[in-house]
Symmetry: C2
Subunit: 415 residues, 2 copies
C-alpha cells in the first residue's frame, strides 16, 4: 500500500496556541484515495528540526505532505530548508504565482513589496502547483525517493490545494482502487448500533471495511469502503450491502455522504413547500444555528424564539403560567405549548421546541443535568419526547439540539 506522513511546521502548534486541523483534513483526503497515513508529526520553525523530521519521514513513507512555515516573515524557513535538503540554493521566478499574487495584493489595496515578490520565487528543484487563494505557492519535491509536497498552513489554502495534490499523487503512484460511501444514522448509540448490525458486519466481504464515525451533532456515521474492485462493481456491492443494512436499521438512516440533519430536514421541508420555526430554552440558539448553517435556509426556516427566561415562555410564546407551575419548565406539557406557541407566533407549518438542563448546575434527583424534553407541533398534531444524556454542558447542548431536529424529522415524515 502507498504510505504517507503528514508534517505540520510551526511554533504556534507546539505551544498549543492553535489546534492542528490540517492533518485530519489531509489524512481524510489521502485515505479516500487509498493512501495510508502512517504518522503525523508537528515540529518547530527550526532548520535542524525540520531537516531531521523531513528526512526521517521521507525514509519512512512514499509521500510526505508538509504544511506551514511558508509565510513572508523571517520565522518561516520551510522553503529554504527543503531547498537545502534537495541540494539547491538557486531560486527561480514563477510567473503564474506572481500573477496570482499581484491580483491578491491589488484586491487588498496593497503594493507589491520585495518580500511579496520573493514569496513567488521557488527552489530550482521543485515543481510548482499554483496557489490560487494565497501568496505562497505549493511546491513538489523529490527527497530520498519520496514525493514531498510543501504547502501553506492556512486551513482554507490547504483545503483548496488538496485536490491538486491528490491529482499529482495519482499520476505518480498506482493506487489500489477504493470506493467509499458514508451512511448517516441518528438516534442509536455507537455500542448499541454495533450490536444491532453485528451479523451484517461479520458477513461483509473480506475486501470491505466498516468505520464508525460518532459525532454529537451528526449522529453515528458509518463509512463503508471496498478495496481492489472496479469502480462500478465496487459501488454496486456497496449499494447491495446498504440495502441489507437499511432493512435492519430503517429510518435511523437519515442521509448519505455529507448530509446533516439540518440539510436533510431542509430538503424534506422544501419538497413539501413547508416552513419551520424553533423555540429554544436550554439549547439557547443552537437549533437556530444549525438550521441557518445551511445556505439558502431562508426559504423554509423563519426564525426562533430563544425563551431562556420563563417570562419569555409565558409572555412571548404563550405558555400558560399554570403549566410551568404545575409541571415545571422541563416537561412534556411545557415543550408542547412552546412548540405550538412559536408555530402560531411566527406563522410556520411546523415548529420544534426544547427545554432541559444542560448542566453542570440546575439538575434535580428527578430531572438530572442532561435531561431534555423536545416538543414538535404541526397543523394537526403536537408530540413530545424526553431524552437523557450525561456529558459536558456544550456536548449536552449539541445532543439536545440534534435529537430535537431528528424528532422533528421523524414526526414530519410520519404526518
Amino acid at each position: 500500500m502507498t504510505t504517507a506522513t503528514i508534517c505540520t511546521i510551526g511554533d504556534e502548534i507546539l505551544i498549543g496556541q492553535i489546534v492542528d486541523t490540517n492533518s485530519s483534513m489531509i489524512s481524510q483526503a489521502l485515505e479516500a484515495v487509498g493512501v495510508q497515513v502512517v504518522e503525523m508529526v508537528s515540529t518547530s520553525d527550526d532548520a535542524a528540526e525540520i531537516s531531521s523530521t523531513l528526512t526521517r519521514c521521507a525514509n519512512k513513507s512514499n509521500i510526505v505532505v508538509v504544511t506551514g512555515g511558508l509565510g513572508p516573515t523571517k520565522d518561516d524557513i520551510t522553503k529554504k530548508t527543503i531547498a537545502q535538503l534537495t541540494g539547491t540554493s538557486t531560486y527561480i521566478d514563477n510567473p503564474a504565482q506572481l500573477a496570482v499574487n499581484s491580483r491578491i495584493l491589488a484586491a487588498r489595496g496593497v503594493e507589491m513589496s520585495d518580500i511579496n515578490r520573493d514569496q513567488s520565487r521557488v527552489p530550482s528543484t521543485c515543481r510548482v502547483i499554483v496557489n490560487e487563494v494565497g501568496t505562497a505557492p505549493i511546491m513538489e519535491f523529490i527527497l530520498n525517493g519520496a514525493l514531498v509536497f510543501s504547502m501553506p498552513g492556512v486551513p482554507f489554502e490547504t483545503e483548496t490545494a488538496l485536490p491538486k495534490i491528490i491529482e499529482s499523487i495519482k499520476s505518480h503512484f498506482t493506487l489500489e482502487s477504493i470506493c467509499h460511501k458514508t451512511i448517516c444514522t441518528f438516534g442509536i448509540a455507537e455500542s448499541t448500533l454495533s450490536k444491532m448490525i453485528e451479523s451484517w458486519e461479520d458477513a461483509l466481504p473480506a475486501n470491505m471495511h466498516l468505520a464508525y464515525l460518532p459525532n454529537s451533532i451528526l449522529g453515528v456515521r458509518l463509512r463503508l469502503s471496498i478495496y481492489g474492485t472496479e469502480k462500478a462493481a465496487g459501488e454496486a456491492e456497496i449499494e447491495r450491502q446498504i440495502a441489507s443494512l437499511e432493512a435492519i436499521v430503517g429510518d435511523t438512516i437519515y442521509g448519505y455522504g455529507d448530509d446533516s440533519l439540518q440539510k436533510v430536514l431542509g430538503d424534506i421541508l422544501l419538497e413539501r413547500c413547508a416552513t419551520v420555526s424553533t423555540a429554544e430554552s436550554c439549547t439557547g440558539g443552537k437549533m437556530a444555528e444549525l438550521f441557518t448553517s445551511v445556505s439558502g435556509c431562508s426559504r423554509y426556516y423563519w426564525g426562533s424564539v430563544v425563551s431562556y427566561d420563563n417570562s419569555v415562555k409565558i409572555n412571548t410564546l404563550g405558555v400558560k403560567k399554570e403549566t410551568i407551575d404545575k409541571y415545571g419548565a422541563v416537561s412534556s406539557q411545557t415543550v408542547e405549548e412552546m412548540a405550538a406557541g412559536v408555530r402560531k407566533l411566527l406563522g410556520t407549518d411546523f415548529a420544534v421546541a426544547t427545554s432541559g438542563i444542560a448542566g453542570p448546575g440546575g439538575g434535580t434527583e428527578e430531572k438530572p443535568a442532561g435531561t431534555v424534553w423536545v416538543g414538535v407541533a404541526g397543523r394537526d398534531f403536537v408530540a413530545s419526547k424526553m431524552f437523557s444524556f450525561r456529558g459536558r454542558r456544550d456536548i449536552n447542548i449539541n445532543r439536545f439540539a440534534s435529537h430535537a431536529l431528528n424528532f422533528l424529522r421523524l414526526n414530519i415524515l410520519a404526518h
Copy 2:
C-alpha cells in the same frame, strides 16, 4: 530548559476520523510551567511503531506525554508496549484504581468483567496516578532517562489528569520560573494592533515575551510571559507593562485570562442588576449561543428572537414594513428597530440586534457578503454600527456575533 514531546496513539487520528485536540491542551499546560514542547507526534496502534516512536521521543526530550491506546479492547496495546520497553512482563493490581472502576461501573449499572478488572492492573515498572473519571489509570515510567506518562485519550480524562501530571513534573525537575498573563482585546485586527503597540513591545524587558492569540470570537488575546524572576517580582513587572499597554489601547481591552466577551458582559449586567435580550437575523442564534454558554446566565439573559424571515422582523419584533422596504433588512434603521423591538417584547433593560449577509450568496455591490449592521437599545438610547468582513460563512457569523457583543459592551459602559 526542560523539554517535552507529546505522543498521541490511535488509528482514529491517523485516518482523520478525529481531530487531535489533546496535544494542544497538554502543550498549553506544559508551556504554562515553563516546559518547552519540541515535538508532537501521532502514531498508529501498532507495537513496532509505538516502540520506535516512544524510544525516539524519550531520547529527544526530558518528558514524554503519551495519550491513547489504553482502552479495554485488543486494539489498545500502549500499556503492553511500554511494559516491554521498560523491561517487565509482570502486572500488579492497583486497588485504588480498582475501587474507582467498581464505582464507575456500578453507576452505569454494569457488572465488572475480567476485561474491566484487567484495566486496573499495571506493569510493575510504573507508578500509578489514579484516574478519577475513567477506568484506565495514568502510568508514570522512566524510559532511557526520560519521564514518560501514559494516559487515556478521552479529552475529558486527559484534562482531569493534567494537573496531577504537572505536579509530578514539578517534583522531578527544577523548572525555570515563569509567569503569564493574558490580555483580551477586541475590535482591532492583529496587524493593526501590532503596529499600534510596536514601540511598547520593543521596549519590553529581554526576559519578557509577547504572543498574539487571534480568534474570531475572542478577539486578539495577548499573552505576556516573564522568565526567570521570582513570582511576586514577575507579576509586578507584568502589571507595570499592562498599565502602559492600557494607556495605548484603552477600552479595546475587555478582560484578562480566561475572560470572554459574554462572560464580561454578564459581569457588567449583574453589577448593574440589568437584563439583556437579542434579536438575530444573519447570526441565526449565535449571540444567544454565546450568552447561554455561560453557566448562570439566566440571571441576566432573557432570550432571543431569531428573525430570519422578514415576516418575523415585522410581525414579532415590530419593525415597520416601510423601514425594510425603504432601507433594506441590512440597514441602520432596521437593526435599531429590531433592538428596540426585542427589548420591548421580552422586557429587558438592554437589547442587541444583528442583520447582515453571512455569504457566500446574498451579497450586492453596495452590501457585499460579510457586511453586518449591529443595533443596540437601552432605556434611553438606540445606536447602530456597520462592520465588514471577508471570510467563510461560519467565520463571518462568529465575527458578526462577537462584534455585536462588543458594541453592546461599549454602549452599556458609555451609558
